[in-house]
């Protein structure tokens, strides 16, 4: 079992969070922790999720990054996350 934390930025669109959680479940990753905040401009949702699985990190990262509305995915240390860091991160799309 490996355990890791992902930081995901997704466009605020219909079903955005459910779509990401759906991919996570379908690819057999267990969700251990989740927080989600709308960015100040209201256009994006910043999600931090800790998951556990028998599969490599990249299996999930690659599936999430190809979702249409996702602009950024990275594996982070759980303590890396903070409001300023998120606000500073620019959108790739």
């Amino acid at each position: 079992m490996i355990r890791f934390t992902l930081q995901v930025r997704v466009k605020q669109s219909e079903g955005a969070l459910v779509r990401i959680l759906g991919v996570t479940r379908r690819r057999r990753f267990d969700l251990l922790h989740l927080t989600a905040d709308t960015t100040e401009d209201g256009h994006f949702l910043d999600i931090q999720m800790t998951v556990r699985a028998d599969r490599a990190e990249n299996t999930l990262v690659r599936q999430i990054e190809k979702l249409e509305d996702v602009s950024q995915v990275e594996v982070v240390e759980p303590d890396e996350i903070g409001g300023e860091r998120r606000a500073a991160r620019s959108s790739a799309r």
């Binding site: 219909e14 079903g15 779509r19 379908r26 299996t59 690659r62 599936q63 190809k66 979702l67 509305d69």
Partner: protein, 557 residues
């Protein structure tokens, strides 16, 4: 203008010629708008067939297939077809009516959360919230459906939005994204690995046809002279008759193809995804091979088998860049082509009953390279893959990933509408045909000259075969001996039909089938215990193929 008219106008702008659909309450504004459009609507008799016909149209043409249904059951009936397109990466736009915005979330009549239901099986989906955004949504949906790795996109349209009057905001976004080229570094590493190899094999998948890279692929093979094995969807990437085409790999692959993969030192996977039906037991698949994986979808590379060299990006560019001469592989190439000759199919089966592989081989020889074959799912599907000759992947419409029984007839309808003068053949079985039998009425309505070959073994043949071989002949719910009289069923829907029982009548039957100017059904009776050979048992390695003569010997002991 109303929202529904925006939608139809945007579809026209996308060049849509055909929509496969079925009307109902929530989608009525769109059907009203369609009356004033030049888009042709094809009324099927079940929404599932609308999605599968759109899929067949898309595979045969390379264009985006469009299907439409009303809310609730209309929408849920599309789901199998959407999932089918998703699993095989077929470009599709599915439009569903939805109850009015104010009623959404109230369990209204014919309300279902189709956006949520389809989420696992779409590339993307939209819920229209204003009429003004509809043109943008439509163009985005088409762009997403056909870009990169293609797939289905859903547009859910609430009835009040379809009825809203607004100013048409023209939105042109019809261009698809250019696919980035693979890195120079990956190409250099791949070429070095190819030059080192003595026993390389190319594992050709459906991505080649979808990337429109047939020409580049064939040049790559003619230059490198690497033997090619194909997945179900990769058949035709190299013509079946090409000397380097070793046939299909996997569960029902040829002995030559599976043996080549199991003994190769380098596997070059082109637009394929290491599906379990192709690989057999994964940890025993191509055990001595390094892997070069060419794909547009980064998520497929190293998903199941680690790629030593990932080549991610535009397939046409990568194949061009990798085409080099490999003088060291001549002995291996000869070994493979000799094996292909030694293990060529034997059509000289005992008995006087119709031998399905032989029937299909003759049909293929006579129908020619311009024909299109749409099959259903089961034994006949594998016989088509093994014995029909394909000159291009778009000639072979087969439900690979999802394995959808009932796919063939609607897919043939989609292909025939795209190519009215082509010889379109639906090869089906007595199990599969019943899954979308109602579409015979659609054939008649539009007078589509689809030729149906219905192999009837009075059983769910593939399941029966597995129960025979892997469940100690404990037959469970596979008997279809009470099938209807298929000829009378077809005739009742206005389709001429005839029955074939003896092998001696096959040649005449094929003549009659191909000479018929309109739709026709040949009801071909085959032995109930006819099996698909060879077969790799579930959970077994592709090195452990079972052949008919070996199993017969085993039984005789």
């Amino acid at each position: 203008m109303k929202g529904a008219e925006f939608l139809v106008k945007a579809l026209e702008h996308e060049g849509v010629e055909l929509i496969f659909g079925y009307p109902g309450g929530a989608i009525m504004p769109v059907y009203d708008a369609l009356l004033d459009s030049k888009i042709r609507h094809i009324l099927v008799r079940h929404e599932q067939a609308a999605a599968l016909a759109a899929d067949g149209y898309a595979r045969a043409t390379g264009k985006v297939g469009v299907c439409m249904a009303t809310s609730g059951p209309g929408a849920t009936n599309l789901v199998t077809g959407i999932a089918n397109a998703y699993m095989d990466s077929v470009p599709m736009v599915a439009i569903t009516g939805q109850v009015s915005t104010a009623l959404m979330g109230t369990d209204a009549f014919q309300e279902v959360d189709i956006f949520g239901i389809t989420m696992p099986v779409v590339k993307h989906s939209f819920l229209a919230k204003t009429a003004a955004e509809l043109p943008r949504i439509v163009h985005e949906a088409f762009r997403i459906a056909r870009s990169g790795r293609p797939g289905p996109v859903l547009i859910d349209l609430p009835k009040d939005i379809a009825n809203t009057v607004a100013e048409y905001g023209f939105h042109e976004d019809a261009t698809s994204e250019e696919i980035a080229e693979a890195s120079k570094e990956s190409i250099t590493r791949a070429i070095a690995m190819m030059r080192e190899s003595r026993n390389p094999v190319v594992y050709a998948g459906g991505g080649i046809g979808m990337a429109n890279a047939l020409e580049e692929f064939r040049t790559f093979i003619d230059k490198t002279r690497i033997p090619v094995v194909a997945t179900l969807k990769g058949l035709g990437a190299l013509p079946t008759t090409h000397e380097l085409a070793l046939g299909m790999m996997g569960m029902h692959g040829t002995k030559t193809a599976n043996h080549a993969v199991q003994t190769c030192d380098l596997l070059i996977c082109v637009g394929a995804r290491f599906d379990d039906r192709a690989t057999g037991r994964l940890n025993a698949f191509a055990p001595n091979a390094k892997v070069i994986h060419l794909d547009v979808d980064r998520a497929e590379v190293s998903k199941l088998r680690r790629a030593d060299v990932p080549v991610i990006g535009n397939l046409r560019h990568a194949l061009k860049a990798l085409a080099c001469k490999l003088p060291n592989i001549e002995p291996w190439r000869r070994e493979c082509t000799t094996s292909k000759e030694t293990h060529a199919w034997d059509y000289d089966a005992p008995g006087t009953e119709v031998y399905a592989p032989g029937f299909l081989k003759s049909l293929s020889d006579r129908a020619g390279d311009d024909s299109i074959v749409a099959c259903d799912v089961g034994q006949h599907q594998m016989w088509v893959a093994q014995h029909f000759h394909f000159n291009r992947p778009s000639q072979h419409l087969s439900s690979g990933g999802l394995g959808t029984m009932g796919y063939g007839l609607p897919a043939a309808i989609g292909a025939q509408l795209a190519f009215p003068n082509a010889c379109v053949i639906n090869v089906s079985g007595d199990g599969s045909i019943m899954m979308n039998l109602q579409e015979l009425a659609t054939l008649r309505r539009y007078d589509l000259p689809v030729k149906i070959v219905l192999f009837d073994n009075r059983a769910l043949g593939m399941v029966r075969q597995w129960q025979e071989l892997f469940h100690d002949k404990r037959y469970s719910e596979v008997d279809l001996s009470d099938n209807p009289d298929f000829c009378r069923v077809a005739e009742s829907m206005g389709i001429p039909a005839f029955r074939v029982e003896d092998r001696a009548d096959v040649s005449g039957a094929i003549d009659r089938l191909l000479a018929e100017p309109g739709p026709v059904l040949a009801h071909v009776v085959i032995h109930q215990e006819a099996n698909v050979w060879p077969i790799v048992g579930p959970g077994r390695s592709n090195s452990e193929m079972l052949h008919q003569h070996e199993v017969a010997r085993e039984v005789a002991r």
